[in-house]
Amino acid sequence: MAGIQAAAGYVPRYRLPREVIAKEWGQPSAGGEKAVANHDEDSLTMALNAALALRGSAAPPDAVFFASTTSPWAEKQGAPTIAAVLDLPSAVRTVDFGDTLRAGTSAVLAALDAVAGGAASVLVAAGDTRLGEPDSPAEQSFGDAGAALLIGGGPGAAEVVATHSVADELVGTWRTRDQEFPRAFPGAFEAKFGYARALGEAIKGVLTKAKVAPQQLATVILPASSPRAPQGIAKALGLDPKTQLQDSFWTTVGDTGAAQPLLMLAAALERAKAGDLVLVCGYGDGADAILLRATGNAPAAAETVSKQIEVKRTLPSYGRFARFRKLVKKESGAGDVSSPVVLWRDRKELLPLYGGKCPKCGTVQFPKHRVCIECGHGGGLTDQKLTRSGKLFTFTNDFLFESPDPPVTHAVVDLDGGGRIYVQLTDCDAERVEIDMPLQLTFRKLHEGGGFHNYFWKARPAQ
């Protein structure tokens, strides 16, 4: 039976207390705080950084699915970026899932189908950065996060017991091509006739197939647009909300859209014991229900979800948040330029981060030069994949550099295992940067020169 081989969540470092939003608009606060993607993050980078944190299978997946309602691209896939950064062979299937909050769980179901159809494993990476309309409840509710699952033939972290999906045509929450912010029909219409009904039907379906009673479930993962939302379903099923419902992280991270059920699953699997039944559900234009049996052997991700929720930086103001998400208008810009030709030609260096190693003197260097920078050997360098961790050699906090979060810290980083790279630091307090501090590389958006997203690596303090 196919299963979840490994899972990892990605919670961005920044938080915005809901009180700050509430105060800005003179509205009551819904309490708690929400995770906010840094200005150099988007749904794709968060999904990708979650995928990079996955531990488990050594063999490359046969397919990469990217799920998001907020892909940075409207036309162009995100999944190939993930495949390229993970250094997967070109014979990999890439698909983006979008358009519904159910995109995350639907991608998992499609991955299970692919494995049933012969794929050895499939990577599912989800990320969402939904933009709530300023001065609306949605703005307080929505948070940003990513999550990744590796789906494969063996049980790994959890085996799949049964699945059930229902489709439902109902205009409850939507965003048209012309709208920037998701809208919801006012009142309890969707909660009662969309969410509760569709999820109820999907859950009933999967439990019937598996011949499992609700009381046997160790953990139930229900998407939550508010802390209150799952309570009705829990009550209808006779669940104990305190022991059986997985925390949606609404209070600490927010409603993270298509990534939410996967993020919750990653957290649930971190503490699941062997034999635990875990029910993960997605909602949107219907519902998905996936019943899993945990093995108790989930490979630890690079960082647990709970640790990432703890490690945070609070945004000082609503204005900073608004600038991050481009809710305020700026007309003067950095004037960045780019070249798709150069990015394509150098893709092996820029995405999976290959440098060169001199066959004569052994110096590891980035970029991969034709002639060795150390000894002048002109016979070419061999490919050397660089590590994603290192130590700060020197730096400066640049106050002239145009940024939504000044100053920008430029850094010279000596990577573990060799190679020196020049990158920006991110997710860090400029005043606390010091020489020799340990750093981890993280994949980010550098700029929008040429009218498109230019991605590259940055570094942030190691935890």
């Binding site: 640049d398 920008v408 230019n454």
Partner: protein, 380 residues
């Protein structure tokens, strides 16, 4: 090629440096070059070839020829980052020393204030590799590494700014004529930490020109030509921030260029009366003392703090005020340094005159410390 005493400067000119919103490159180049012609008392028609250094204010030999109507002779534009000016001078000297020409012109100019850009903008052309490298950010990274290595802090930078601004008050053509205090320097807004506003040279408009002749012609033109004793140029990695092991506590390009110039001149740093060095940032001047051999590595901050680099000290460094106070129109700077050397060696430098100056050095540094050019000149 050993240049010693084979070529000489017979005329030098320099425009007023500053923020010339009301003047064009043409105005500045003509000011500087016609001053040089007048200084040498020769007609423009004597020039057989010319080199023009500019980093971004013009392209090709026409950028000089069109201003001066200096047509029908070889004119070459030289670009070598911030060392463009001195490399133009070097090319002029080499051509004369090779015996191809007897009388040539070297001009440097830059018009930075027309663009509205803060500083020089970013280096490099790759969409993401090296993205964000600017002059202040690269030298600031050297400062932080120097501080860490030698256990000093930001306060060691202030004496450089104080000294050079003081010297600048005696330079009528300098961009700034104002004294600064340690307090002003240390409390100035940060540009790239640890470098604040007064640790950075300004962005300046300006031009400078020198006329270079063969030994025989020089003696006919004036009784007191300024003799070129040696010139070195070295190019090292333009991406030191990705060069494994690069120490960031100095610039090998300066050391190599200086050694070549000292060897040709047959001198050691002890023989120098003064130096015009590339103080694009205060930290750079401290590193320059060490790289030029004025003091040991790690001692540069003490060298200036102890007054050894002041006029009347051991070796007067930047009597003109340097880039810091005289200003830094990129392509002009290297030629402006030769102009200043000539004024000092002719003992025409007024209030900033280094007493009994006989031998001086000029040092131009380009890019992230990647291009070093050093000239040694003397009046005998």
């Amino acid at each position: 090629m050993n240049l010693k005493d084979r070529v000489a400067v017979v005329g030098a000119g320099c425009s007023k440096f500053g923020e010339h919103y009301d003047r064009s490159s043409e105005d500045l180049v003509c000011d500087a070059t016609f001053e040089a012609f007048a200084d040498a008392k020769i007609e423009p028609g004597r020039i057989q070839a010319a080199w023009v250094g500019t980093m971004s204010s013009g392209s090709s030999g026409t950028s000089l020829a069109d201003f001066l109507k200096l047509y029908n002779i070889p004119v070459t534009r030289v670009e070598n980052y911030c060392a463009s000016g001195m490399d133009a001078f070097r090319n002029a000297c080499m051509a004369v020393a090779a015996g191809v020409y007897e009388c040539v012109l070297a001009v440097g100019f830059e018009k930075l204030r027309d663009s509205g850009q803060r500083g020089l903008g970013m280096f490099g052309s790759h969409p993401v590799v090296g993205y964000g490298t600017t002059a202040p950010s690269l030298f600031a990274m050297a400062a932080n590494r120097y501080f860490k290595t030698f256990g000093v802090g930001k306060e060691v930078l202030a004496p450089v700014a104080i000294k050079n601004h003081h010297n600048g008050t005696m330079s009528p053509k300098a961009h700034f004529q104002m004294e600064v205090t340690a307090d002003q320097v240390l409390k100035a807004p940060l540009i790239c930490s640890p470098l604040g506003l007064f640790d950075c040279c300004p962005t300046t408009d300006g031009a400078a020109a020198v006329i270079v002749c063969s030994r025989d012609l020089a003696k006919q033109i004036r009784p007191d030509p300024i003799w070129v004793k040696g010139i070195g140029l070295a190019v090292t990695s333009g991406e030191p921030y990705m060069k494994p092991g690069f120490a960031y506590t100095g610039f090998p390009a300066t050391r190599l260029a200086a050694q070549a110039a000292y060897d040709q001149a047959g001198i050691t740093p002890k023989d120098l009366d003064f130096c015009e060095v590339h103080d694009c940032f205060t930290i750079t001047e401290i590193l320059n003392y060490e790289d030029l051999g004025l003091c040991e590595k790690g001692e540069g901050w003490r060298y200036v703090a102890d007054g050894r680099a002041s006029i009347g000290g051991e070796v007067a460094v930047n009597p003109s005020g340097g880039l810091k106070s005289f200003g830094h129109p990129i392509g002009a700077t290297g030629v402006r340094m030769i102009y200043e050397c000539a004024q000092q060696l002719w003992h025409k430098a007024g209030g900033r005159q280094v007493p009994d100056a006989e031998i001086g050095l000029a040092h131009n540094l380009g890019g992230p410390g990647a291009v070093g050019c050093v000239s040694v000149l003397g009046n005998s």
